[in-house]
Symmetry: C2
Subunit: 199 residues, 2 copies
Amino acid sequence: MNYYGQEIENLIAELGMLPSIGTKSAQRLAFHILGMDEKAVEDLANAIISARKNVRYCQECFTLTDDELCPICSNPKRNKNIIMVVEDTRDLAAYERTGKYQGVYHVLHGAISPMAGVGPADIKLKELMQRLQKTDVEEVIIATNSSLEGETTAAYISKLIKPTGIKVTRIASGVPVGGNLEYVDEVTLDRALEGRVEL
Amino acid sequence: MNYYGQEIENLIAELGMLPSIGTKSAQRLAFHILGMDEKAVEDLANAIISARKNVRYCQECFTLTDDELCPICSNPKRNKNIIMVVEDTRDLAAYERTGKYQGVYHVLHGAISPMAGVGPADIKLKELMQRLQKTDVEEVIIATNSSLEGETTAAYISKLIKPTGIKVTRIASGVPVGGNLEYVDEVTLDRALEGRVEL
């Protein structure tokens, strides 16, 4: 099915291998790229290669970044005594966008999932425990996802840390702000009831 | 808002400039790319640069391709006496996927649109007329889109070609196959009625 010639077919195939980009989207992207300035196309290709080459884990919190320490760990204004544990770098970014959190993070790069064969040794858990020994930490906030894997991981980490005497908390589950009760699932409604606070 | 470090932010920004890729999608794509094999990342970047560098117009039909003639024009089995006029290369691919059309194409790269300042001289119309003089063409099938611009272009081309004595046709408008009448707009229903055929 070669309508376009090999070069364009190849570009469509490469773009089509990216997540959530189907054949139609890949074609649209390919033709957009073919219509871009040659300079802009080189910038795009270089950004791809350069980011992949230079990306590494922050030595402190293991988020993906391009230096020894990520912008958050190297910021002297952040409170290093509070660590929020998240599953991946995008979750970190989600909390950063709130602009409210002043502590630092620890990125696990996954969650414990016996079904998928991911055990505690496959995520950055050992690194978290080492970090807790090195630094004086007041509180560990577990912000793994509210999925089966996220909850399992939260329970596991909590058990691991409790004996050290460090305070361990979990972000609240409940009805999303602006959410209509009618459309919220039963498990969430139940959690919201359990987690009710006095006004 | 630098959560990730410059390299990753830059990659997200570059990806976010592509059409129909918002910030969230750009982030998802960026982290997917960061997790890919270095070899696969290079293949992707090379496909982008190489396609952009080597893409050109087919000398015959002006579709985007990577050689002097596109795979269709260089195929001796295609009927060179029937030319289907389309707005862009993707429209050509759409008809190719039907597998039914045996003629060749002419790609206009746009449609006449006074509103957008696109006149007959801005699309590959002169090239079509030159082509009709050079080759012995039986029929020109106008398959521009069924939009205002597409219809204007179709009317204009038809007027231009008629004096040469070459047969000019337009693809049918009507109810899409599998379409439910209830959900089809009035203009389409009207066209389908006008274009009714005897059974």
